[in-house]
Symmetry: D2
Subunit: 134 residues, 4 copies
């Protein structure tokens, strides 16, 4: 599967008094990229929830912070699926600066598929499985 990439501009709201992006905000950037990755594949999460009764939630994550991002930086956030199981998937996500080689921060995110009715694990819908395992 090819890697998906999504641009994220850093605004004041994302920074802290240390002059850099506040550490938890990278998680927000990664979630924006996952949302856009699903959208690019043809899936809207609100429709998945309302029509198929399926929610994708973060079950665990592992983040390494290497270098800080700052106000006005134009970041690229990637999404690469590394493991697909019935009710979960592992994604690797990098945050880089546009046109610069280094990785600022790297996440491994486990997403689980839950039913909206009782939040129990359920299979990732087949159409999504088919598309993302290519």
């Amino acid at each position: 599967m090819t890697e998906f990439a999504w641009p994220v501009r850093v605004y004041y709201e994302d920074t802290d008094a240390g002059g850099v992006v506040y550490h938890s905000n990278y998680l927000n950037f990664m979630e924006r990229a996952r949302t856009e990755w699903l959208r690019a594949l043809g899936f809207e999460q609100d429709e998945l929830k309302d029509k198929q009764g399926v929610l994708f939630v973060v079950r665990s994550l592992n983040i390494e912070y290497y270098l800080p991002a700052r106000f006005n930086d134009n970041l690229i956030v990637t999404v690469k699926m590394t493991t697909l199981r019935g009710a979960s998937m592992l994604l690797e996500q990098d945050v880089k600066k546009e046109n610069e080689p280094g990785v600022l921060c790297q996440g491994k995110v486990k997403i689980v598929s839950l039913t909206t009715s009782d939040f129990s694990p359920c299979p990732i819908p087949a159409q999504i499985q088919n598309l993302i395992q290519i």
Copy 2:
């Protein structure tokens, strides 16, 4: 009615690269104080929603910013009701530093009472009206 006051500590998450509290975060602090004011009066907003079908939402606000707050500041956020109508109330809210005279920022907030069913205006529940107009 006496003024309600709620302490808010400033953490890194609240600041921006200018070294001060990011301007929209004062709105969050003000909402924390409103939530605690209602709690001090004996009302939990989740119970109001689930049992009485009533939501309080911000209809408009007016904020003046005078002085910045910084990391580690211990702030005091006040709530004073100035006008009570059937389905709305006007609140004045100040943000100060603990043990310092000046006001950092001042808000006038109009809260409306809505039904959870169709988000149409509805009377503020009588028990709340009775308590807050004293």
Copy 3:
């Protein structure tokens, strides 16, 4: 002056348990649009700060909330300068849904120009004044 417009997608991070965009997050959206408006005019706020010693900060704001935005909505945030004084400007900013007529929320924002050295008011740099009063 023509009105500037900037798209903002609503992600989960922007919403609250009421199912709608949390009220203070519209202020963040408006600031993103102001940053992009200045960028479109050729000004980067980090350069203004580092090279000219000038900061733009929010001095006051007035927001009216009419209709809620929800997860996945594609919003358009506008910027229109209505008054330009030596050290301040008044901006009107609307938040709409893309391809829909109604205004969700409307802000009047007073921005002041401050020196980075001691945060005292200073003239908005002439090149910016020239560009934005056209």
Copy 4:
């Protein structure tokens, strides 16, 4: 060393349209608890920065999400130091509901000590090392 515990109330700002606390906000809660843990030991991070030229930053983190927190929940966030090295420490942090046994989410956080001058690793100040290894 005994475990430090800090209460955190969940407000609307912390929740998302799924009705639960947004996943990255637990990182903010954990940082509040770390700040208060250092304060309880007698250290203010702004003084460490200004007087000793030392910053504590998150180098990596590992979070497992088990159960959601909701609006109005009163959470307890713990801090337990598990490893102390010269320029870094590993902390374990749990998020629980007050008066309930289960753990909602669990973090392992690696904090590094950096100089404010060039962000290179530096020893954790001796007074802190002495206090936290007891």
